[in-house]
């Protein structure tokens, strides 16, 4: 690792954070869709959904948070794609700068941007009546899981960001990720789903993550869900990281 890695990453992080503060609309658009879904589910469908939980906002917030991240990382891919296309990526790579800093700066920017969006969504949820008796440790655990989940999805986003040919191509990968929580325990209990759908829902990553966060929010025992959730996050993170680095090395040859 280059001796300038941390300094260079900080400089480049400052650069992309400036991009975000100059177009805060990326934060707003990231937050607006999950907020709209939340309003719709709570005030339109919510009454018809039996979850066994007292408040539907409490029930569905974990899933909404995952959707927020899934839509937020489309911008990570977009920002990376713009750097590739504009040639600034090559300029940085031809300078005596730590080469991987360029990538890490985007990853950290993604983390910051998503945490801000998550904060905005949480705030709206609070206004809509979300309440949690979670203690400090539970909140820290939720934050930790969300950070891991964001990093895992961010490294997935790096792959199309580096290799896409068009802007649409760079962000289209996020649609299935946004959709995944719908086929999970995020909005309705999986027990209500027909056989094969239920089997899929119960064994895909977002269900365990949603269950773990929900249990932490409500002060229930998290059981094995949290370990399954962590295993999924770390597993996806490692695989995506390896594939992203491979794509990256191919790009800089």
């Amino acid at each position: 690792m280059s001796k300038h890695f941390f300094g260079d990453t900080t400089v480049l992080l400052g650069r992309s954070l400036r991009h975000i503060t100059r177009s805060p609309d990326t934060i707003i658009t990231t937050a607006i869709m999950p907020i709209a879904m939340m309003l719709m589910f709570v005030y339109v469908f919510g009454g018809a959904i039996r979850t066994g939980s007292a408040s539907y906002v409490n029930y569905m917030l974990p899933g909404i948070l995952l959707i927020t991240v899934a839509s937020g990382i489309a911008y990570t891919a977009y920002r990376l794609f713009m750097d590739m296309k504009g040639g600034i990526f090559e300029r940085f790579q031809s300078m005596p700068t730590a080469r991987s800093s360029v990538l890490w700066a985007h990853v950290l920017t993604s983390l910051v941007a998503n945490l801000i969006s998550l904060g905005v969504v949480m705030l709206v949820a609070l206004l809509m009546g979300f309440r949690s008796g979670a203690g400090v440790l539970a909140w820290l655990s939720v934050t930790g899981i969300l950070i891991l989940f964001t990093l895992a999805l961010t490294w997935i986003a790096v792959i199309p960001g580096l290799s896409a040919k068009t802007m649409e191509g760079a962000s289209a990968f996020s649609y299935p990720l946004i959709f995944l929580p719908f086929l999970s325990s995020a909005f309705v209990p999986t027990a209500t789903m027909p056989g094969p759908v239920r089997a899929f829902a119960e064994n895909q990553p977002t269900t365990s993550i949603v269950n773990a966060i929900r249990a932490l929010f409500t002060g229930q025992p998290v059981g094995t869900d949290i370990w399954v959730a962590l295993a999924w996050c770390v597993g996806i993170l490692v695989v995506a990281y390896v594939l992203a680095m491979r794509t990256y090395r191919r790009k800089i040859s």
Binding site: R18, G86, G87, S94, T97
Partner: protein, 254 residues
Amino acid sequence: MTTQQTPAIQVHGLEKSYKELRVLRGVNFEVARGSVFALLGSNGAGKTTAVKILSTLLKADVGTARVNGFDVATQAANVRESISLTGQFAAVDEILSGRENLVLVARLRHLKDPGKIADDLLERFSLTDAGGRKTATYSGGMRRRLDIAMSLIGDPPVIFLDEPTTGLDPQARIEVWQAVRELADRGTTVLLTTQYLDEAEQLADRIAILHEGRIIVNGTLAELKQLLPPAKVEYVEKQPTLEDVFLTLVGTKA
């Protein structure tokens, strides 16, 4: 160690293919320290490919290249300390201002006092008034000037300019030429690629023509002109222009 005698750029037997397409098929040339070297070639001749290999962005399939005495394949970090690249398409950050772009590059080159470096360059490239504006609002010429200014930060001994004046109006072109001449006067080695033959005539100490994957000629302007009979049978004796030389050698003139 590098001495003043070793050429700033040494290229031997460079080959590069993209799948089936053999772009470079054994390219050889050297560039003396402090000189301006022009690489001429038609569209798709492989100029950008050669520049990317020399600036460590691309790996050659076969052959070696040294820049400032360092091997581009095995001493890439040293090469990057020695060079600066102005790519074919202006690579500036659109969302940052001109000044912020310069400060960013100065920071990434780990230089002291990035603010002063930025202000000096803005002044030198007549961009002081526009320095605070987002570069997305710049004209093509302003953007190119900023792009070149960014490349001068840190005074690297070798500078690559890939088609530095394509798309510029005559005035902006002359400004870029002026900047290249100033670089040469300071002893910087410049390798530029161009499709404008008059640009090569104006700026270069040596000119090489890249055609079908090889350097087909390499010499001073005077040497290149001698390749053709000096006088045509005309009422007025006329020296062949570099354009005549180029088109004859490349063999595309009707």
